[in-house]
């Protein structure tokens, strides 16, 4: 196991290096931030000074090397706009995004698993059909539209829940979170449901498929032949088997929920990383874009690693394969 993790970490460092190069070149190709950042009536001398100050006068490869050298010391550059370290800006906004993503995942699992399992257990019942129809809607309705509708119904017309912002936060274990206050929870509910909708449909589909497939397996018949109750067969024997693919997919999805909650954050004006990256792209704030993408890649790498470890906990056959490697 330890060898496995060390090897994965070394691979990860390599992936990060390649990724940083791609991102750096890619962002360079998008456009010149100087045109946006410097007032149009500035004279040539001012322009040159600004360009030199931002380090944009060097050739691309030299800029990249400077970036790498600083990155090795944990400095991913300063935001052109805020004139603050890019890393700091992103990390400041991370808790907001993480708590949103976390809430969305919890909703998706807590609702999706039972709904999907029921739909797989009674596939021909009317309820199961309704659940599946609902999951198609969850897949196909665009997130921003659902978000707007939710604001309109629950915030504007019914007035039950606030529509924007993060609400009151409290500090738990050194992290500022709105999940610790009632006002914060009320604020997080709508965007979390909005973000969860797609994952929820995914979990429903996966658990339904797993349920249908596994219920036909011999081990289910044998478990029933042993005289086990249907409850034990489903919630111990079958559940542990269908969790394997669900954990894999959800692990990957968790990364994308965190990285691409952009739409939901924009609709609900949620002060998270997604909103920051959209603003930064509009202003061609290169250091933030680069730092954000690298953090995203790191996040995916970490999540994948956790999923692999979790996978081997769920499926004893995986554990053995690694022991041999």
């Amino acid at each position: 196991m330890t060898v496995f993790i060390i090897r994965r970490l070394m691979q990860s460092a390599f992936v990060l290096l390649i990724m940083s190069l791609l991102v750096f070149v890619g962002v360079f190709a998008i456009g010149n931030p100087v045109d946006i950042l410097i007032a149009a009536d500035a004279d040539q001398a001012e322009r040159d000074r600004a360009i030199a100050a931002l380090g944009l006068d060097l050739p691309l490869w030299e800029q990249y090397l400077v970036f790498l050298k600083n990155a090795a010391h944990g400095d991913l550059g300063k935001s052109f706009v805020f004139n603050q370290p890019a890393l700091q800006l992103i990390v400041d906004r991370m808790p907001a995004t993480l708590e949103l993503a976390f809430s969305a995942m919890v909703i998706a699992i807590l609702l999706g698993l039972p709904l999907g399992m029921y739909a797989g257990f009674q596939p021909h019942s009317r309820t199961a059909r309704a659940i599946m129809a609902g999951s198609i809607l969850g897949f196909s309705l665009p997130t921003f539209w659902v978000g707007l509708m939710m604001i309109m119904v629950f915030a504007v017309q019914l007035g039950w829940l606030p529509s924007t912002g993060r609400g009151a936060t409290a500090t738990v274990l050194g992290i500022k979170t709105s999940l610790a206050t009632w006002d914060g929870l009320a604020h997080v509910l709508l965007p979390a449901i909005n973000l969860a909708l797609f994952k929820l449909s995914l979990v429903i589909r996966l658990s339904r498929a797993g349920m249908r497939e596994n219920m036909l397996m011999d081990y289910v018949k044998f478990a029933r032949a042993k005289g086990l109750s249907m409850r034990r067969v489903i919630f111990v024997h079958v559940l542990k088997n269908i969790l394997i693919p669900i954990v894999t997919v959800l692990g990957l999805e968790l990364g994308s929920v965190i990285a691409f909650s952009v739409v939901t954050e924009s609709v609900f004006a949620w002060p998270g990383m997604g909103k920051l990256i959209i603003d930064s792209i509009n202003r061609l704030d290169r250091p933030i874009i680069v730092a954000y993408l690298l953090i995203t890649v790191t996040m995916f790498i970490v999540i994948n690693l956790v999923v692999d470890v979790l996978y081997s906990v769920l499926d004893p056959r995986v554990r053995l394969a690694e022991a041999k490697a």
């Binding site: 397996m217 011999d218 081990y219 018949k221 044998f222 478990a223 029933r224 032949a225 042993k226 005289g227 086990l228 109750s229 249907m230 034990r232 111990v236 024997h237 542990k240 088997n241 394997i244 769920l314 499926d315 004893p316 056959r317 053995l320």
Partner: protein, 327 residues
């Protein structure tokens, strides 16, 4: 003795599957009895209804299948019409079942111990430690070496034969009155097959369990069973003691089955085959369902043949039973 009430008496059992193309009679009027300590071989090709018969006894026929009529008297008590809860109490405790593929029957993600202890706890209130003891004893009983360590293992760490032993150990945990073994040796290689057969025979004699052995392999039945029922297309076509049926088959189908087993005595002679294939249960010929493949069929066979008694304890469903001894 308890000879008066057989362990299991199946009477005119009919199990049908409702499909879009119509009702399929997978088991069509099957009757037999098994007494304690005896072994009944249920023989037939794939799709002859032998497995469905087993599942019907266990109450494990899932929709769209259902038991349409008949009685399954287990120690005098009719299992047909019992509630799921009552059936669950019998399953695994008084009636156990072993399946064909040991790779598939054990749950791959649960430890052997979990799978054994839960079987105990499903029927009796027993503490974890005591259940652990009983599980270890059961593994030892079916010849698994170092059972204490093996309890901690997962199914994939066992070979096929060892897995089947585990399945047998699970079936034996409550010392059931009846075990239904559905081709438990088919997926194993021959030496392991022999060992498993021997173990089953030994253990069943030891605890006086009645055994129904479902198989398509006549050689297994010959060495194991006391009595034999040959099934074809959902019906029993021949019934009797093993020696009588195998030495002097009366039904042309039984004769065909025996003829298609390779034998040393007939080296060089081409194997006899039964022409054609098992008919679809949706589309059975009128009268005798074997008549289109039968060399002895004539006009009389268009009417359905009844079970007729040839001699004591020996019945056959045929208008033209074979009389000569098998080759």
């Amino acid at each position: 003795m308890t000879q008066a009430v057989p362990t299991l008496a199946v009477d005119d059992l009919k199990t049908v599957f409702e499909t879009r193309a119509g009702a399929v009679k997978a088991v069509d009027g099957v009757s037999f009895t098994v007494t304690a300590g005896r072994v009944l071989g249920l023989v037939g090709e794939s799709g002859s209804g032998k497995t469905v018969t087993g599942f019907s006894i266990m109450g494990l026929v899932d929709p769209p299948g259902r038991i349409a009529s008949g009685h399954i008297l287990f120690k005098g008590r009719d299992l047909v019409g019992l509630s799921e809860q009552e059936m669950r109490r019998l399953r695994g405790a008084r009636i156990a079942m072993i399946f064909q593929d040991p790779m598939m029957t054990l749950n791959p993600v649960l430890r052997i111990e979990t799978q054994m202890v839960e079987t105990l706890q499903a029927h009796i209130s027993i503490g974890q430690r005591e259940a652990h003891e009983r599980a270890r004893e059961a593994l030892g009983m079916v010849g698994i070496p170092s059972p204490e360590e093996r309890l901690k293992a997962y199914p994939h760490q066992f070979s096929g034969g060892m897995r089947q032993r585990v399945a047998i150990a699970i079936a034996l945990l409550h010392r059931p009155d009846l075990i239904i073994a559905d081709e438990p040796t088919t997926a194993l290689d021959v030496t392991i097959q022999g060992q498993i057969l021997y173990e089953m025979q030994r253990v069943c004699r030891q605890i006086g369990t009645a055994l129904i052995w479902i198989t398509h392999d006549l050689s297994v039945v010959a060495s194991l069973a006391d009595e034999i029922c040959v099934m074809y297309a959902g019906k029993i076509v021949e019934q009797g003691s093993v020696d009588m049926v195998l030495d002097r088959p009366a039904h042309p189908y039984t004769k065909g089955l025996i003829g298609s087993v390779p034998s040393r005595n007939r080296k060089g002679v081409p194997l006899a085959q039964i022409p054609g294939m098992t008919p679809s249960l949706l589309n059975l010929p009128t009268g005798c369902s074997f008549r289109l493949r039968c060399t002895r069929a004539d006009a009389a066979c268009v009417a359905p043949p009844e079970m007729t008694t040839l001699e004591a304890g020996r019945r056959v469903r045929c208008f033209h039973p074979v009389h000569e001894a098998a080759a």
